[in-house]
Symmetry: C2
Subunit: 136 residues, 2 copies
Amino acid sequence: MTAHASHPELTKNQALVFGSLSDAGGPLTAYAILDLLRENGFRAPLQVYRALDKLVEYGMVHRLESLNAFVACSHKGCSSHGAAAFAICEECGDVSEFSPDEVISLLKNWTESRGFRLSRTTIELRGTCRNCVLEN
Amino acid sequence: MTAHASHPELTKNQALVFGSLSDAGGPLTAYAILDLLRENGFRAPLQVYRALDKLVEYGMVHRLESLNAFVACSHKGCSSHGAAAFAICEECGDVSEFSPDEVISLLKNWTESRGFRLSRTTIELRGTCRNCVLEN
DNA sequence: GTCACTTATGTAATAATATAACGCCAAGAA
DNA sequence: TTCTTGGCGTTATATTATTACATAAGTGAC
């Protein structure tokens, strides 16, 4: 559950999908990944979705719920880390990942106080990034 | 932008959709709403989606991104309020809405410090609610 | 080895979610 | 009136995700 380093052995499909996301440097939908990988022999959505499932499980890829898209985890050395949050610019599509530890810890307090067993946390901020604000 | 009270005049379709969600007491997908409202003359998804768009805009309904579903805002008097967060039980489907003011304010600080103009905040916690934990 | 088991894969078909494009009608403003 | 706006109805289509079934490749037990 902790991180990438503990899962160095990706299958061929998983490696291809992770490569696409890393190269993209931003979010891609499953079908966008499929199109990128057709030249590598990909034929069907399931090949992408299955790889994504594993990559998300390994913590190497995050799913952006509000975009129905996926993004490579931005943790440099791929070391272990907790829940992530995302700031999504609706102008340019840029996505910044960050780790709001204090926020996570407050949310954990809330869940614990209610006996809610937390398994996954989604935090996504939509808006306009600094660059795009300045341009307008 | 603040709330329901300022939008008492719903159209027929909006009122029907909001009624479905209120009666359900939990999240419904657009297509589930459509099925519920067929007896009221609904025929096409767009009738539901258009009403939902408005209801979300009015703050009377929230979209749950991780479920692709919609839920009536649980604010009793429908008075104004800030961003909402949701704890979603994956066992029973129960959804608890809450307003983690401190969390919101931390996230706002983060965005402001980066010149990110925040327009919408999504916070969804997936896990198992107390009742379901006790039952297992 | 080979048996059983698990995991990954390939493929076709389909389900579930969401939007585009068109035209119509009613209400209010000019 | 005419213009504009917003809501509505309908058809078609786009986008996202899964089910179902068959094949192949690894792994440990024996």
